[in-house]
Symmetry: D2
Subunit: 364 residues, 4 copies
Amino acid sequence: MSSGIGNRVKCTIFGESHGKAIGCVVDGLPAGENIDMDEMLVQMARRAPGRDKTATPRSEGDYPEILSGMLDGRTTGAPLAMMIVNHNTRSGDYEDIARTPRPGHADYTGHVRYDGFNDIRGGGHFSGRLTAPLVFAGAVCRQILRRRGVHIGGHILEIHGARDEGFDPVKVDAQLLERLAAKPFSLIDQAAEGLMREQVKTAQKNMDSVGGIVEAAAVGLPAGLGSPMFEGVENRLAALLFGIPAVKGVEFGAGFGFASMNGSTANDPFDYDKDGNVITLSNNNGGILGGITSGMPLIVRAVIKPTSSIPQPQKTIDLIDGKSAELSVRGRHDPCIVPRALPVVEAGLALGLLDLIESEKKGG
Amino acid sequence: MSSGIGNRVKCTIFGESHGKAIGCVVDGLPAGENIDMDEMLVQMARRAPGRDKTATPRSEGDYPEILSGMLDGRTTGAPLAMMIVNHNTRSGDYEDIARTPRPGHADYTGHVRYDGFNDIRGGGHFSGRLTAPLVFAGAVCRQILRRRGVHIGGHILEIHGARDEGFDPVKVDAQLLERLAAKPFSLIDQAAEGLMREQVKTAQKNMDSVGGIVEAAAVGLPAGLGSPMFEGVENRLAALLFGIPAVKGVEFGAGFGFASMNGSTANDPFDYDKDGNVITLSNNNGGILGGITSGMPLIVRAVIKPTSSIPQPQKTIDLIDGKSAELSVRGRHDPCIVPRALPVVEAGLALGLLDLIESEKKGG
Amino acid sequence: MSSGIGNRVKCTIFGESHGKAIGCVVDGLPAGENIDMDEMLVQMARRAPGRDKTATPRSEGDYPEILSGMLDGRTTGAPLAMMIVNHNTRSGDYEDIARTPRPGHADYTGHVRYDGFNDIRGGGHFSGRLTAPLVFAGAVCRQILRRRGVHIGGHILEIHGARDEGFDPVKVDAQLLERLAAKPFSLIDQAAEGLMREQVKTAQKNMDSVGGIVEAAAVGLPAGLGSPMFEGVENRLAALLFGIPAVKGVEFGAGFGFASMNGSTANDPFDYDKDGNVITLSNNNGGILGGITSGMPLIVRAVIKPTSSIPQPQKTIDLIDGKSAELSVRGRHDPCIVPRALPVVEAGLALGLLDLIESEKKGG
Amino acid sequence: MSSGIGNRVKCTIFGESHGKAIGCVVDGLPAGENIDMDEMLVQMARRAPGRDKTATPRSEGDYPEILSGMLDGRTTGAPLAMMIVNHNTRSGDYEDIARTPRPGHADYTGHVRYDGFNDIRGGGHFSGRLTAPLVFAGAVCRQILRRRGVHIGGHILEIHGARDEGFDPVKVDAQLLERLAAKPFSLIDQAAEGLMREQVKTAQKNMDSVGGIVEAAAVGLPAGLGSPMFEGVENRLAALLFGIPAVKGVEFGAGFGFASMNGSTANDPFDYDKDGNVITLSNNNGGILGGITSGMPLIVRAVIKPTSSIPQPQKTIDLIDGKSAELSVRGRHDPCIVPRALPVVEAGLALGLLDLIESEKKGG
C-alpha cells in the first residue's frame, strides 16, 4: 500500500532502522541484464554515512545481499530481492523518542498513524536508512538504462545559500553526468566545495543543521515517453522523489523560476540540429512538454530540508505526561544530508525512467 | 493508463478540446452524499475562461451533465460520470499546428507519442480545457470533505513578480479558505490585485504572457493520514498536481525555502493547545511529517508557467518540410492562466485528500 | 475502485440501468487504429436483448455514441469515451424491489454496500445492461487484435444440460472463431440448437429460467505472454470475466476435468510442427503454462447461472417490515441469458488480451 | 508487475527454488496485530512436502525468518518482510530441463518469456515452492481475520474421482473450519481418506500423478463487502487463486453446477433468522451476490491439475537440437499435490479477504 511504487518495474522497500534487515524487491526488471556489483557499491557508498569528511563517523558497513532474481550476474526476470542486515544498532540512543517526539521528524505522525505500534527505534521505517535499498534499486536501473543510451547524474546545487552553478539545460551531456555520478561530493564547479563545507561546519559547531538543493539530469531519452495527465513523466518522478525523506519540493526545468518569466522567454523554440533531429534552442521545460519527453535533457531539482535531528535542545511534548517538554537529540546525525541525498534522488530518477521506458516500450 | 488517478476515489478524465465532449468518471465516491450543483458551478466558473476581466472573452457556456452515479441529488456509490458537450469549436484556428508545433506546448511531444494520430485541434487531450472535468471532480470532493470538517481554499501568491502575502501556515483557517474559494480572483490582501493585473495587461500589450504561483491549503485534516515512502500525502498530491498543464513545480510548507534554513528554525516545535490537542508552534513542514498529516494546516504551492500560446511570432519547425519555420499562434488564449489555474489546484487537492481519507479511513 | 480494470489498456464502465446513460472510457489504446463501427454493432447486437427469437421482445435501440478518442475513424491515443443514452425505462416495474430484494440478485447486497443509496431501478449499476459498454470495449480490442493475427470467438457449450460439442483445443482455428463470432446463437454443431431452445422454452413456460456454459478461444497469440504468479494470463482474464454478472466459475483448458486425470494424460507433450514451431500434441492446459501463453489456442469456459429474475413467486423478505414476504418479479427478463453472455465473455477476453499484449509488448 | 497483488494489503513474493532464499513482503497490514508464530508454523507444515505419508520424503526444514514489520510479536504497520533460506538444493537433478522442457510445466513458456535467462533450476520462480511465502502471508492474515470474527478452512473435495462430501453451504461454521484448518489431510468425512490415498498410491506405482479439487470456506464475513464489476469478491479472489501453480479453474457456490439448474432452484430465498439477521435459506451463490458478500458462508473451489513432473518417460523437444526428444523427470516430486495445495488456497482466501476488509473498512 505504501512502500511500493511503479507500473511495470515495481519497487517495494522494507525494513526498519534497528530491525533485523532492510531491503527491497524490484519486480518487472527485464531479464538477461548484467549487473556490475562493484559499480553498484559505488552508488551505495555515495549515500552511506561516514564516507565523506563532513559526515558523521558512523560506518554502516552495509553490503547488499542478493536473495533472488539474479543468476550468474544477470537478472532472471523474476523479482530481484535484496537485503542488508542491520549491525551495531545502538537503540539506547532513542529511548526518549517514544514519549518526546523529535520536532520535524515522523515520530509523532508515525505514532498516530500506527496507533503507537510502529518501531520507533532509529526512526523505524521512516529512517533515512531506508534510502539505501532505493539507491540499490536505482543503481541496478541506471546500469540497464546506460546500455540503452540513457545517462543519469546530478550535483549539489546549494547548501544553505552556498551554490554550485546550475546545469546548462541544453548542453548537459553523458560525459558530465557520468563524471558527477562517480563522485562522493558532486559539483560541476569544484570551487563551490569550500563554501558549502563551511556552511556545514558552522551548523555543526552550532549544534544545528542545514538544508540544500540537489539537481539531477538524464540525457539520451527518446522523445515521446510519458502519457498525458496523471501518468506524465513529471507526475511519476515526483511521486517517487517525494518518497525520499526530507524532500519538500520538486521542480522541473525552470521550475519556480517560471513565475517571473514571460512566455516569449519561457517557450523553448524548436529547431533541427545538423543531423536533422528535432531540438529546442533553450530548455526551460527541462525536457518535458505536456508530461512527455521532448528528447532534450531532463532536468529536475529537489529541495532537502535541514536534518531534523539536531543536538541542541528543542521544545517538544511528552506524550505520556501530556505536557510540554524539552528534547536534546543524541546519536549520530549528519548536520547536512544534502550530499548523501543526491545519489538517492538520482536513484529515484533511474527507477522512474526505467519503469517508464519498460511500461511504454518507446525506445530508451 | 494515463488519464486516471486515485486508489479508492479514482478519477478518469476524457475528451479532446474540439471533440464531441469532455468529461470524467469518478469511481469510488461514498454513497449518499448530497451534491449541490450550484456550488459546483461556482468552482467551474472560477476556472472558466472569460469570466474575469483580464481573461479572454471566449465564453464556454459549459454545463456539466451528470450521466450516472447520482439520484435525487445524492451519490449512489456507482461511478459518477459527467460530460460537457463541446460547442463553437473553431478548428480552423489550429490548422498550422499539425506541421508547426507551438513552442512550450505538447504539440510536438504528443505527435511523437501518438505517431501523429493524436487530435491536434485545440491541443486535443492536452488542452487546458481538460481541467474543467477535474474542477468538477474536485468540487464534488470538496463538498464531501467539508461535511467531514475539512476545508480547502487558495489564493494567487504571485503573478510575474507581483505578490500577495503568503498564508500564515499556523493560523490559516476554514473561514479564510472558504472566503477565498468563493472568489474569481482570490487574494488574501486584495491590494495586490492592481499590480497583478498590471503585469497581465503589460504582457497582453506585448503579445506575450506571464506565469505565477498559486498557494492552496487544507484545514481540519486529522493527524495520521498518509503512508510512508511512496504513498505519502506529498507523493499523492504531487502526482495529481503535475497532471495540471503548466504546473512545473510543487512544494509543501517552506518548500524550496528550506534550502537556506537551519534545522533549529525549520523544525516545528510540538506543543499542546489549550484543549490538549497536539499542535506545532510553527508549520514549516506544511502539515506533513514523514508523508503523514500532523493535523496542522496543509500548505502546498504550485508554479504555473506562462501561457505557451502567445500571439507574437516564434521560431519553430515545419515537420513536413523538415525546415525551420516561424509561427504566430492565433486563437483565444489568456495572457495569464494563473487565476484560472488556482481552482484547478484546489480541485486536485480536494480529490487527493478525499481519496486519501477514503483509502485509509482514518477520520476526515 | 470498482468498475475499472486493466494495466495498460484500462476500461472504466459507468452507468445505471434506468439512469441517463451507460458507457465506458477505454484508456491506453494504441493510436492510429481504425475502428469499423459496423463490425462493432454486430457484436453489440449479439448481446442486445430481443434480437433472438427466444429472448424477450424488448428492443433497446442502443447506439454507442463516441465522445472522445477517435478522429476520422481512428483512435487518437487519448481515452476513448462512449455513451449509450437510456431510453424507455419503465421504472415502475421495479417499485417493490427496494423493499423486497430479488433472490439471486444484487438488490440486497447492493443495498448494504451503499447504505441504501444505490440506484435500485432496473438493477442500477448491477444490471446486465452494463455489459453493453464491455462488449463495445471488447469489440474495439478485437479489431485491433485481429490486425495482429489474434482471433477470438466462442460458442454456447451448454444450456441446462443440452450441449454443443466442445472446441478441439488443438485444431480450433481463426476461420471457425470468426465464423462463430459473427453469429447471434453461436454453435459449432448447429444440430444442438433445437435441444437448447427447447430447454429455454420449457423454462419460459414454467415461469422459470436456465443456466449454461459458454466456451471461448483465442488463436494466434505468441508464446511468452503473461507474468508469473498474480499477473498471469489466467489471473487477469479471470479478474475480468468474474466482472460479468451471472458468471460463477471460470476454467482454462481441461479445467475441472483435471480432477479425474492422470499427469501422463494431462501433460501436453511438446513437439515441433513441420515449420519448426513449438507445439503441444494435446492442449489440456488451454494454451497457458505457468500463467504464460504457450502459443497453442487459449481455451476458457465460464458458467452462467440461470437468470435470477423469474416470474414465478419467490420467498424473500420485506426490508421495511422486517418480515418474510413473497415476490413475483415483473418486467422483461430473458429466461436464458447464455447466448447473450457469450459475446460479453468474448469481449472480456479481447480486452484482457489486448491489455496483456500492450503491457508486455511481446509480439501480438 | 507480476508477483505482487492487493489493493491495501499488498503481498509481493520473491525467490527461486534453488536460489539463495524465497520470501515475501506484506505491505499495508494493520499495526498492533499479535502474530502467533507457532500457529503460523502449523499452516506452513500443512503445505510442506514430506510431512504426510503419501508425500515424498524430502524435508525442507523451512523456517520463516522475519526481517521487518514486527516488534515484540506485533505488527508495526511497516512492510512485513519474511525470508526462508534455501538449503540442500540438488540442482544436478534439473540439468536436462533447460533443453528438454517438462510437459505441463512452465519450463518452455518461462524460457520464451524471459529470453532464456530465467533460473530454470527446480522450476525457478515458477516452482510450487514459491507457495510457502503465500502460506506465510495467509497465516498472518488468518490470525487477524479470526480476531474480527472471520474463520477460514477447507478440505480435499476430490482426488482422482475419490470424493469427500462437500460443505453444507448454509451450515458450515467456524468450529468445523478451524478443525479442518489444523489438520494435514483435511476431510469432513475421514472415511474418504482411504480411497483417496489409494488413488495416490496407484498413481505413484504407475510412475504417474493425480489431480483433484479443494474446497474452502470463510464464515463470519459481514454483508456488503466487495465492489461491483471488476473489484468484486470473486474477481479479487480468483486473481489470487489463479496465482497458485496447478490451479486451472475456480468456482463459487454451485459454480459449474449452475449450468444444469433452474432459476427457481438456483436462487437463494431471503429470510430472517431468529435474531432478525438477513439470511438465505439455500446458498448456491456461495455467499456472494453481485460481487458483494451476503453474510452467508463464502464457498470457493479450485481444481488442482495432476503434478506435471512424473517419473515415466514423456515426449518433449530438445530446444538446442531442435528435434523431438524423450524426458524422464527425476527428482523428488509428489504424485499428488492436492493435500498440500489446500492450505495454499486457504492462504489466498485469507489474504484476499483481509485486503478487501482493509480496503473497504466495512466491518470484518
